[in-house]
């Protein structure tokens, strides 16, 4: 399994619209972990641009997983920020299983946001590993 790269771009305005929708609370619960919400919280509330960066990270991660991460809960892909400010990925559940099956052992992530847009790049290193399960086609939407 070679190195795989995923990228995604999300408009903060789209996240803001989701927060203001009738299902805004459920949107937060279905997509983000408690830790992510804490990292995005400001005095004015949750920051849509930071949430957008995390959503982009989740989508970028789905793109490097086998089958486009189909069947993976977005909460199974968590962006964690350490004390130095660096961000890391923590996979759980089916996301972790798909990564393991594909021999993807190491993930690196970079986030950026500017001008109302947030982007994420995820690199997964599968060199030296033998995938247990071959990749297939159907991608995830979430």
């Amino acid at each position: 399994m070679p190195i795989r790269v995923g990228i995604d771009l999300v408009a903060a305005e789209a996240v803001q619209a989701a927060l203001q929708a009738a299902h805004g609370e459920r949107y937060l619960e279905r997509v983000y972990t408690e830790l992510e919400l804490e990292d995005c919280r400001t005095a004015a509330g949750v920051d849509p641009e930071r949430l957008a960066a995390r959503f982009a990270a989740k989508e970028a991660t789905l793109k490097v997983l086998p089958a486009g991460g189909g069947g993976v809960s977005l909460r199974a892909i968590e962006v964690r920020r350490d004390a130095s400010g660096r961000v890391h990925l923590r996979l759980s559940g089916r996301a972790a299983q798909l990564a393991a099956d594909a021999g993807l052992a190491d993930f690196a992530i970079s986030l950026t946001h500017e001008g109302g847009f947030a982007a994420a790049v995820v690199v997964a290193d599968g060199r030296g590993a033998t995938p247990a399960v071959p990749d297939t086609a159907d991608g995830a939407t979430t």
Binding site: A18, R26, R30, G71
Partner: protein, 82 residues
């Protein structure tokens, strides 16, 4: 049911075209629906149709068209009856 699905798409898919101009089989992603919008469509559908999409259905293909969404909703309702 397709009318309810189209209403949710109109409200939450953020398509650059009028959803009423799209066929049931038209690809919503090709029409401009983003992954983020598809998540909002999923949650709004759950509210509108009183159901919940399980993780196994969180696939791009499930939300790719009005027809695909209707098929998934029918499958969920059928499973709930059994």
């Amino acid at each position: 049911m397709n009318d309810q699905i189209r209403q949710v798409l109109s409200d939450h898919a953020r398509l650059p075209v009028d959803v009423q101009t799209l066929d049931d089989d038209a690809d919503l992603y090709e029409a401009g629906m983003t992954s983020h919008a598809s998540v909002n469509v999923m949650i709004a559908l759950e509210d509108a149709l009183d159901l919940e999409f399980p993780d196994a259905m969180l696939k791009r293909s499930v939300f790719a068209s009005v027809a695909a969404i209707a098929e998934a909703v029918t499958a969920l309702r059928t499973a709930a009856i059994r």
